[in-house]
């Protein structure tokens, strides 16, 4: 998970980002046990580093951790990145009552699902480009 806290004000440091003058965007990857699940996580990291939003813990939503759930509820826009049509990230968020603004499914972008967990940087870059086109 990206070591960054976003404040709703706009000030920022390397670790704590304040966004008083911008929308809070939460990025939730499924991070599942497949190539596309792991790619979803890596793409979320890249998006967070590019400043698209704040990467958050999808599993923390499922675990009902109050800080993570409330952080999601405090978002103005939620991006769920799922590896496959099981849509675990989207379903987890919606099960917690958090509406998903944008759901991206990597297999629907032409990335074939398998259980090879050795992900190449080129695969992440390819997926990132496709995801970015959807945003």
């Amino acid at each position: 998970m990206t070591e960054e806290i976003k404040c709703s004000c706009g000030d920022a440091t390397d670790e704590i980002k304040c966004s008083c003058e911008s929308d809070n965007v939460g990025i939730f990857p499924c991070a599942g046990a497949s190539n596309v699940g792991q790619i979803s996580n890596m793409v979320a990291v890249k998006l967070a580093k590019k400043g698209v939003g704040t990467m958050m813990c999808t599993v923390g939503i499922g675990g009902h951790r109050s800080g993570i759930v409330k952080s999601a509820e405090g978002c103005d826009y939620i991006i769920a990145i799922d590896g496959c049509p099981l849509n675990c990230a989207k379903e987890t968020l919606e099960h917690a009552g958090i509406p998903v603004s944008k759901n991206i499914v990597l297999t629907e972008l032409g990335i074939k699902k398998n259980h090879d967990l050795d992900i190449l940087p080129s695969q992440v870059e390819e997926a990132l480009a496709k995801v970015a086109d959807c945003l």
């Binding site: 070591e3 960054e4 806290i5 976003k6 404040c7 709703s8 004000c9 706009g10 000030d11 440091t13 670790e15 704590i16 304040c18 966004s19 008083c20 809070n24 939460g26 704040t54 958050m56 813990c57 923390g60 951790r65 109050s66 800080g67 993570i68 759930v69 409330k70 952080s71 509820e73 405090g74 978002c75």
Partner: protein
């Protein structure tokens, strides 16, 4: 009761503290109000966006300034 205001000292964080103190005053509730600004403490709650309010260890809101009535519900 312990109320922690999580944030980096920004405008919204300061506003949140004001609102919490207003709610306590109006409801006549005595509580320890603490501002928490260090990263490690904030992240320990799983909070990814601030300001946030923690009442007796439970995060009540994050990323938004609460209303006075919200705080009154949490402290009642």
């Amino acid at each position: 009761m312990k109320i922690e205001i999580l944030g980096t000292g920004c405008t919204k964080c300061n506003k949140t503290k004001e609102i919490v103190e207003k709610a306590l005053l109006e409801n006549g509730v005595d509580a320890e109000v603490v501002k928490v600004e260090d990263f490690d403490s904030i992240i320990s709650y799983g909070v990814m966006i601030t300001p946030a309010v923690v009442v007796d260890g439970e995060v009540k809101i994050a990323g938004r300034v609460p209303g006075v009535n919200d705080v009154k519900k949490w402290i009642s």
